[in-house]
Symmetry: C2
Subunit: 185 residues, 2 copies
DNA sequence: CCAGAAGTAGATCGATTGGTCTATTTCCGA
DNA sequence: TCGGAAATAGACCAATCGATCTACTTCTGG
């Protein structure tokens, strides 16, 4: 095992998909994916069954990474309140990045018209995992209604990602952090 | 004048576009648009120059209507604080609607990869008009920093529209209203 | 060393896309 | 009433889409 050196076609396809689906949307052509992954056409259909299968696999993979990112962002401090507010500091950096283009999962849901597309289940799962993370933090913080507060924090996060992608204001995360601080109390 | 009875092809195209671009995204085919508008193919290219021109015109038209909707939603009360909070009550109804599919302008920006597409200027203009509306209300309310508070209200609105389209929780507007209330003080 | 799996390269297919064009009909004002 | 603009219907085009298939090469384990 230990397939570290020189990632195979499957891994290269996942990385190319993660990059191109995010920067150009789910409507990028198969040709562009194959070119960036430097992979033969056949490999895509062998490994993922088609473009839709790749989309689903990419979302699942990105979901793992993003949940890990949120966990790490929350691990920045010991005190629960500081942990949650620190998350918005990390979001501020994320959104400020030049190639930030909004929430991958929301964009995927919008791009895939078919409500039966398997990728929708993946985006739902991601949101549930994120919500669970917030509930855990709020419970540790001793909040009265962790479920409701988590919903509000989630709304603040999504709002930050939207405002950050429109570039109307450079630091939406700071506005959200301020609201989150009042919420946590 | 008074072109009320039996709207012409141009108007029918605008209505069909406003409906289909919203419910199915900007990627709907020209054929579907022509069919729903009950209009000849040539009429589209005569009036709007092409699909992109129709998209731009539809966004401009919807923008007018939506700004009017926000103005009317704010006109529900006399006291500034009640006016702003009432807006979130109206958003609650809007999001609860079965065919609600999120923010039209954000979805359009995501769907149009080309950053030079004229529709982007229209979505930006809409957001600026909405922001101006919020600043006016906050100024009337005597808020310390109307600009910053307007940014925060805008973030709460966009967050509500996102959360409402994912259907994870039925009443994101109530969560946002609660946060808005703390913000207004 | 060699057999088979995996990967590559690229032609090709059918469907669909946005857009152009021709021919015909409808409608309205001078 | 008549003439021209506007609208209709639909054939048609080039480009692009995702997907399939064949032929060849590379890599690897027994």
């Amino acid at each position: 095992m230990s397939a570290d050196k020189a990632p195979g076609p499957r891994e290269r396809l996942l990385e190319a998909g993660q990059d191109l689906f995010y920067s150009q949307g789910a409507s990028v052509g198969v040709d562009a994916l194959l070119k960036q992954a430097n992979v033969a056409r056949r490999s895509l259909y062998e490994h993922f069954g088609g473009k839709d299968g790749l989309i689903e696999a990419v979302i699942r993979r990105a979901s793992e990474q993003d949940i890990a990112w949120y966990e790490e962002a929350l691990a920045g401090a010991e005190e629960p309140r500081t942990r949650l507010l620190g998350l918005f500091d990390r979001l501020d950096e994320l959104v400020a990045n030049a190639d930030f283009r909004g929430c991958r999962y929301f964009a995927t849901d919008l791009a895939l018209t078919d409500p039966q597309h398997p990728a929708h289940a993946e985006t739902d799962a991601f949101r549930q995992r994120l919500r669970a993370l917030l509930v855990t933090e709020l419970t540790a913080l001793g909040h009265d209604d962790p479920g409701r507060a988590a919903e509000q924090l989630h709304l603040l996060i999504e709002g930050t990602l939207v405002m950050g992608s429109t570039r109307g204001n450079p630091h939406p995360a700071r506005a959200a952090r301020d609201l989150a601080a009042r919420l946590i109390g």
